[in-house]
Symmetry: C2
Subunit: 231 residues, 2 copies
DNA sequence: CGCGGCTTTGATGTTCATCAAGTAAAGTGG
DNA sequence: CCACTTTACTTGATGAACATCAAAGCCGCG
């Protein structure tokens, strides 16, 4: 008798609560067998724009950026996100190929499941399908509203926004190491690198933040909120 | 015997091919009984930001704009779209209330189905669920990529873009009546009204377009493409 | 230690919004 | 149907916001 059946690691994964909550234990077991984990070092590319989509991927740990290259070769950062927001989000059901690239901003671990397996699950398990649709919708909503928010702000408002984003959404701490270069921030909020730096310097001078290289300390978060809103 | 059973109008609707193609005739019949059509005059509001979502709505004919109001009271137009792109798209599965407003730019007809009915269908019919997810993903993808495209362009590029959008995507004709005011164009592409007008005047002067009030004729579509791309 | 990339700052010019003033067009009430 | 009011459109002038360019400092890495 096989008393010591190894428990599937997926059964305890936080991700289960999010989209796989409708799966019973045998299904989770099957998922586990169809799953692979892959590690990416900071800077490595997880999905490449134009590549064929064959897998359903989600971020288990780390931090990634979603971006695309414009016709004149510049990089446009669409969003920066933490685990449990899908990595291969969006296009996976609507397109054959990735519309955007994804790369690791910190060392990251990604879970990879064959897309066909997910599609099968989707077809035969309505609850799972609904959970997945809700999750995907929510991610899309977030990206769209974030993009609209940024668009509406001026230069200082945008920099304030991005600092608050790191403080509240990404690190949940008033002190953090910037995971991106000044240029990447510029590509994210749609302005020039020089002006991102200039604005950071202004904030430093007004003692709203302290800066030590890549390390940022938000001193006056309330003032930052005001600037971001008014922006 | 009931020989003269009235055929359900939904059975022949173009929309059936798009998301309801997986439904068999009895289900379509049921859909038909749960459906209402509602007409909206130009300018009327179809969905209101903040309102509770109870229905699944889609545009049968007409033209609508999706927009939101920013914190300082300005209007931000997210997209302008033709039938068969959902009206109550996006948030319907992820949010309880509408994130955005929708209003009619031309007289429009909207089909309205109770959201609960769609959810039931979704749960028990995997094919339908997959079709719907694909459709929703595609609409979201389109909005996101459009927004990114616009963001990356300068003033003239944006105006060229919007003219091409009306020419190719909306009217499929080089001559058309603008369904929106100059101000609405400005709110759509994120610039001031005065500069939209100025740019249109420049295009007129360079004989790229002809303008008679609301009527636009695109004379040199190639030049417009170049300006839009380079922008 | 020296090379290359990222960062910083100042000077300059372009792009764009804002303001103002005028004209055309579209409602509105008598 | 016309005078009146309001709203949309148009153009020029001005200044603010922002990008670009250039030069110098910093830092990590071979």
């Amino acid at each position: 008798m096989n008393e010591k059946k190894k428990p599937c690691v997926c059964a305890n994964c936080d991700f289960r609560d999010i989209v796989f909550s409708y799966l019973d234990d045998p299904s989770i077991e099957e998922l586990c067998n169809n799953k692979e984990e892959q590690s990416f070092r900071k800077g490595e590319i997880i999905n490449h724009e134009g590549e064929k989509i064959t897998n359903f991927k989600y971020l288990k740990s780390g931090l990634v950026k979603l971006y695309r290259r414009t016709s004149n070769g510049e990089e446009q950062v669409i969003t920066i996100t933490r685990p449990f927001e899908f990595v291969s989000n969006m296009s996976i059901f609507s397109e054959e190929r990735y519309q955007y690239s994804v790369s690791a901003l910190e060392d990251s671990v990604v879970c990879i499941v064959k897309l066909d397996f997910i599609k099968e699950l989707f077809l035969k398990n309505g609850g799972f399908a609904m959970g997945l649709l809700t999750k995907i919708s929510r991610i899309n909503d977030k990206i769209i509203s974030q993009t609209l928010d940024i668009r509406q702000k001026n230069l200082v408002g945008r920099v304030a926004f991005v600092l608050l984003y790191f403080t509240k959404e990404i690190y949940n701490s008033r002190v953090f190491d910037l995971p991106v270069s000044r240029k990447e921030i510029a590509d994210y909020i749609g302005m020039s690198t020089a002006n991102v730096i200039r604005t950071l310097s202004d904030f430093k001078r007004e003692e709203i933040i302290r800066v030590f290289g890549k390390t940022i300390e938000v001193v006056d978060i309330d003032k930052l909120e005001i600037i971001s809103k008014r922006g």
